[in-house]
């Protein structure tokens, strides 16, 4: 996929999540060594070479240690994929400031920390790339999720800023913005909703293609953005949303 002889290395945060597992599998199938990072210890996909680390991505010391280990193990990094994210259902008027901070730290702050500690390793690669998980929620507000909407907009702005900073060193930085994805994260939102059946119907209606994305479809886009095929794509958000934005 990357067209080079030696094994490529990908670090993936949120690798134990619904999208993360598919992303980890996609990179493993494409021949990458993977370093899987998550709060919960993620399982390495079958027939995979790599390491798996339990890490709180909002703690600078833990993130630094995780990337030290990646450096010791592999000596470089070709792809950094930031998927880790949480959701919180609360209108601004009832928002607990600690919950707000937790959202910002997890969904955006973690990307800052992994970039900070990952860049020195990415600089040792030929054609390195970072992909951050954004969302259509960065563009279209859902009424009960202001913190999520704000963090996902922040992800895209951070992606633009980082692409400027590291572009001259040959590191590309992009975001992927899915609509609804058929994964555990969406199941959790449903469990918080007062009317989960209506939510299901809304998910179908929200997309031109009349369905949610499968996690593997999001994974394919992430993998492509890290591949040599995307060598002139940087500072962008790739919508993998089945026409969600077009319908809004």
């Amino acid at each position: 996929m990357r067209g080079s002889g030696e094994l490529a290395v990908a670090a993936i945060t949120g690798a134990a999540g619904g999208i993360g597992r598919d992303v980890a599998r996609a990179f493993a199938n494409a021949g990458y060594n993977t370093a899987l990072l998550d709060r919960n210890l993620p399982c390495l996909p079958e027939a995979t070479q790599g390491i798996s680390t339990a890490v709180d991505l909002t703690r600078p010391g833990e993130v630094a240690a995780a990337f030290d280990r990646i450096g010791c193990e592999f000596g470089k990094l070709d792809a950094l994929v930031n998927l880790a994210g949480i959701n919180h259902c609360s209108p601004v008027s009832r928002m607990d400031a600690d919950d707000w901070d937790r959202m910002m730290d997890t969904n955006v702050g973690s990307m800052f920390l992994t970039a900070k500690h990952g860049i020195p390793l990415l600089e040792r690669s030929v054609g390195p790339a970072i992909v951050n998980m954004a969302s259509v929620s960065g563009h279209v507000a859902s009424p009960d999720y202001p913190a999520y909407v704000a963090t996902k907009a922040a992800v895209e702005s951070f992606t633009i800023a980082l692409s400027q900073e590291v572009g001259p060193r040959g590191i590309r930085v992009n975001a992927v913005a899915p609509g609804w994805v058929n994964a555990g994260f969406t199941d959790h939102a449903k469990s918080e909703s007062e009317d989960p059946a209506r939510l299901d119907e809304a998910a179908r209606d929200a997309h031109l293609l009349g369905r949610m994305a499968e996690p593997s479809e999001v994974a394919a886009a992430v993998l492509w953005l890290c591949s040599s095929g995307a060598s002139f794509v940087t500072g962008q958000t790739l919508f993998v949303d089945g026409g969600f934005m077009r319908k809004h």
Binding site: I160, S163, Q164, G167, P168, G170, R172, P178, L208, L209, G210, A213, E214, E217, V218, A220, A221, L223, W224, S228, G229, A230, S231, F232, V233, T234, G235, Q236, L238, F239, V240, D241, G242, G243, M245, R246, K247
Partner: protein, 236 residues
Amino acid sequence: METRAAAIAITGGAGGIGSSLVRRLRTSGRRAVSLDLRPCPEATESYQLDISEESAVAMAFQRLDALAGLVCIAGTNMRGRVEELPWEDWRRVMAVNARGAMLAIKHASPRLEEGGSIVLVSSVSAHIGTDGYTAYHASKGAVLGLMRAASGEFAPRSIRVNAVSPGWVDTPFTDRALDETPDGEAVRAQAADAHILGRMAYPGEIAEAIAFLLSDEASFITGTELIADGGYLRKR
């Protein structure tokens, strides 16, 4: 990655990006049909026509078998500020860049298989304005509007419609445009600096982005614009 037997039709298949895409598709075992003013010897089939002439476009697509995809690259450029640009020049740019894409979609439609993919080539020019490229900017904006509209129209047939927007690409098209620019050499010298990645795109890099959107790897991507500009828009 490429699993379909049906062909991909490419308008502007003989140009810099087009011929690069033809080679990319042929290398991965796909059939590539070129529709261009000039012949494209590398294509499986090559039709010489003016993409803005409906009867010619209709006739060409009638002769084709099933299509897995359509790529609209054919484009032209005429220099001139609003106050100086002749009406005929404005219409020529609009005819090739916007009407040509519309006509290709219209007549490819009966040939396109369910689950197929349409890719229109727009440009960063749809998002910015530069003195003297009035018609080109307007036409590339129209291409994005056409893409968004068509994505809804084709969604019930599971046909995806997207756009790829390059920045500067090192092609004969760019050479010609710079030749016509009074300070062309100075502009070329600055072009590399205008991108975060510090260079123009190679045609093959734009072909790769198009090939991705054509492939089943992009099965949930529709109605969107993939900007492959090396960070040109972000640097402004």
